[in-house]
Amino acid sequence: MPEYTLKVRRYQPETREGPYWQEFTVDLDPDLSVLDGLLQVRDSQDGTLVVRCSCKAAICGSCGTKINGQSTLACKTQISEAQDGANRRPGDHGGNPIVVEPMGNMPVVKDLVTDMESTHWEKVRRVTPWLLPEGDPPEREYVVPPESMIDVTQSMACIQCGACVSACLSMEADPEFVGPAALAKAYRFVGDPRDSQTKERLYDLAQDPHGIYDCTHCFSCVDACPKGVAPMDQIMRLRRLASHDHDIDDVNNGRRHELAFTKIIERKGTLDESLLLQESYAQGVVGKLMPTSGAIKGLIGSLPTAIRGIRTGKMRSLGKLIPGVHPKLPGDAQQHVKRVYSHSEEHREELNLYITGEEEVVPEPDEAPDPLGSAVGGGRQHMDKVTEGGSETAGQSEATPVADIEPEPDEEGGR
């Protein structure tokens, strides 16, 4: 059986000061997991090595660790794949050790065991993680739309392993951020029709400066999650519900930023950055509403940056200097964009691939398998379903007239 080297970040508070690295070599079937490797170390080499583990099947959530820098479950990481990952690092390309560390953003108790209580669980408890129905329950079951139960099953799938918390880049910079696990849990209730405190929950999280608008939108939690919960997606849904469905203004200017961005594209087609900056803090300040003191502070805080930009020549044109003086799209393009807006605002459909899965194109007998394009791909967590009726061919529609796609003459690379 092949040999693998595990480079483990250890911490033995009773026998040694501070953390240190230790390498272990294990003989392991390549199909087994990194956790199996760690257990082999524990069973045959060093029983002082500790790692939380139980089911070994990615369902109990005990073995959250960082493997080659990636937060994940140790039981779910195949050792041969972990070795491939290790070999991709610059360095000894032949046989880099597999790096195993405890989860991040949490205090370390010993070796790979972290203190989840003070970070993960405290944040989860902060979102009032139990159902708050209205009044007395019915005699039988609550009647709810079947899709709603499937929808919240995505958050319900969370096994509280902490990998998302470990990977969260916002939390790295701001330890008070409520975090992906807690917010995904919050969605589980906000999305449940039986809960009667939807608005209150959203309001609470929007009024918390470390709440739903503190997420830096980096997808690290989506990558880390072993169960397809996609915490960041849940956070975005919370934002959408708070901002659109319940008209809740948050303390982070998040809603204003969102609305400003959206409106600017409707009117101009591309981004007017200075207008966005201004509108994010104080909507319609040119003329209408009085900005909050926080907004004024934010605006004034951005002045030094703006001044530097003017000085070096980044913002030299009128369109950049003065908010609002930004050209629309050429020709009738802007009109078409506006039409897109009215069509989309009417329906506001939310397609969730976790629920619907992805269609699989059934290829014609002599056709190559469906090339889904190299821009979209990757190991999907969703399943294919056979399309009803005929196959969707990558067929030819009538050649659409090539609209004015002439490159604009470049002036200093700007407009």
């Binding site: 880049l169 790295e172 910079a173 701001d174 400066p209 503190d214 997420c215 830096t216 939108h217 980096c218 997808f219 690290s220 989506v222 990558d223 975005m236 959408r240 982070n252 200017n253 930023h257 969102e258 594209i265 981004l271 950055e273 934010g298 940056t305 530097r308 930009g309 070096t312 980044k314 950049k320 078409h336 964009v337 039409r339 897109v340 989309s344 605002e345 506001r348 459909e349 939310e350 397609l351 992805e358 889904l372 394009g373 821009a375 791909g377 990757g378 190991g379 999907r380 969707e392 990558a394 659409t400 090539v402 609209a403 004015d404 796609i405 604009e408 470049d410 200093e412 690379g413 700007g414």
Partner: protein, 302 residues
Amino acid sequence: MSDLKLAYWPGCVSRGFTPELHGSMALVADRLGIELLELDRANCCGAGVIAEHNQELADTLNARTFALAQSTGLAMMNICSTCQGAQSECQQRLDADSAYRAHINDALADEGLEYTKAKDGWTNKNLLWVLVEDYGLDRLKEKVTRPLTELRVGPFYGCYVIRPKHRIGYEEHPDRDLYLESVIETLGGQPVEYDGARKCCGFPVITMNRDTSLRQAGTHIADALDAGADCLVTPCPLCHLNLDMQQPEAAKVTGRDLGLAVLHLPQLVALALGFEPKELGMGKHIASTEWVESRLAGGVPA
């Protein structure tokens, strides 16, 4: 004579607050023989922000851009990690469900546009991917007239061009999260390994939680400095804004002197192709690029 011809979406910020990006791209494309057909009727990708507000709207806006590109018969290129990420997410939904796609195409019908899934193997790729996968590093190397020897470059990818794993095409292209290093090496430079290379610059929360935002930017810049980088390179103008334009503010928040040049990917390539910093608008940067220039001139050693 060019054999690589692409529909080109420059994004908003490259024509806005980072005009030096747009300019350098044009110079690089010309020198490399890549013909770019700029989609100037196309609209903003939404940067993930519009999707937050109304998912269908973001999908439709990007479907429009895709359709405009498809009607040129060419594959599409973007020069912004954020565009890549926002667009890939929308494209995944559009491709996943034919009924949804038909519904979205309804909104485009007036303009005579239609997004067709996988039309002739149509793709939308960031410049970084185009250079490695379509142009080829060998070919790029041949064009290098000024190898960036002695230049230690820290790669900064930008979240949306490397995450989430299941959407960024790793199945077919498993090394997409190492491309910057390969490009740096091809150009003769030395890639620098540091903690923040694949982390978040903080741009998405700059107006929402300034401290969180700038702390991220500042920490990653500091890590790169500690690892000995002469500059950073990034394929995302939004990252550039937070790392370069906000660098003095980031320094204040982290309480650390910074002063690390941040280059756009086309600028780095252009330097290796022989262009001068002034032609590339490097004077417009907030964080001075003088150090880089002197390293290239064979000046001050490490």
